[in-house]
Subunit: 84 residues, 2 copies
């Protein structure tokens, strides 16, 4: 069994209005030291072992469902777990 | 300057309908090996140095704005950057 952590972030060149809103809110709450916020997604997948390579499966899943490759980048970490 | 990565996840005991929907979609797309998905948030903050301790600031920000401590857990990583 694998635990896969997927991080999806907007590409650097893409504007992030949600992040801008959070930055403004934090500045209004008097956290003036925060100059920028970028919002992304974080997903934890539990994946059973199969005959297919885990990297191949995760890359397919990310590009087809979890991330929009036109405006988003993704990276992931795979952790192998021993089933109890 | 600090780059802070914040990960906000639903507590283990809290149901995650969005994650369940993604699990069902992946199973329908024939990725039967995916048994569970939990969705969280990922945020990258750029924080200037100030007289306040960075951990204190980030903990305050997370509990007051970025995470709902009733149903969510958060963790973060601080990376110190040299301004160019």
């Amino acid at each position: 069994m694998y635990k896969v952590k997927v991080f999806v972030t907007l590409r650097e060149s893409v504007l992030d209005p949600q992040g801008k809103a959070v930055t403004h809110s934090l500045n209004a709450l008097n956290y003036k030291e925060v100059t920028d916020v970028r919002i992304g997604k974080y997903m934890e997948l539990t994946v059973e072992k199969s005959e297919r390579n885990i990297d191949e499966v995760i890359n397919e899943i990310c590009t087809s469902l979890l991330a929009n490759p036109v405006i988003e980048d993704y990276r992931y970490e795979v952790e192998e777990c021993v089933a109890q």
